[in-house]
Amino acid sequence: MMNDKKPRRFGRRKVCMFCADANVKIDYKNPQMLRSFVTERGKMIPSRITGTCAQHQRSLSLAIRRSRMVALMPFAVNE
């Protein structure tokens, strides 16, 4: 009745990969690295899933968009 709310699950807090490791640079020239932040279809994965912080997600999305411009990454992948 009143208890139809789903129980809230708290997992381990995700931490931004780029904050954790300063050696990993966000670079549009490196599609291998960017690939882990898009789905198999080529869509960007939201930071809410990957745990990337807002600042890095911004530069990440810029890098992905640039990478797409020069055909290093796909806009869309059709199976």
């Binding site: 810029l62 640039r66 020069v70 990454m73 806009f75």
Partner: protein, 151 residues
């Protein structure tokens, strides 16, 4: 700046393009900092009906007029199927970037690596790119006295 050339482009063609760009740079007081050939790579999608393309990566210093001129040149050369210039740093002191490109490096960039789809090589750490999205038209704001570093 990245340019993608049609896959059938020859070394001679690349040399011609190099020469024309260098001429422009000389006239507009720019300087080429680096030129790399990433070889013939598979494109993530077809560009002007090509599935593969030869990637050339240029790093140069120059005013926005130079950038506009180079982009104009790129549109005129038929072998260039895609180009993108990106502002790396605004207001760069030209003396702070002493690197130049030797003839040997130019020749090297003109020869197309034979292996297909080379792994991306790590470039030296660079100051972060600080600009907004610049698709085909890179925006180069800055007044006369500024130097921008473009790649």
């Amino acid at each position: 700046m990245i340019t993608i050339l049609a896959p059938e482009t020859t070394s001679e063609d690349i040399k011609v393009i190099q020469r024309r760009v260098l001429e422009l740079m000389e006239r507009k007081e720019g300087r080429l900092l680096a030129l790399e050939n990433w070889g013939r790579r598979r494109l993530a999608y077809t560009v002007r009906k090509h599935r593969k393309g030869i990637y050339l990566y240029w790093r140069f210093l120059g005013h926005f007029e130079l950038v506009a001129e180079i982009e104009r040149l790129m549109r005129m050369i038929e072998k260039v199927i895609r180009y993108m210039s990106i502002l790396v740093d605004a207001n760069v002191d030209p003396n702070a970037r002493p690197e130049t490109v030797t003839d040997e490096q130019l020749n090297q960039a003109a020869t197309i690596p034979t292996f297909d789809a080379p792994e991306h090589e790590e470039r030296e750490a660079r100051p972060a790119e600080t600009d907004e999205e610049s698709g085909e038209e890179a925006e180069a704001a800055g007044d006369e006295s500024d130097d921008e570093d473009k790649e």
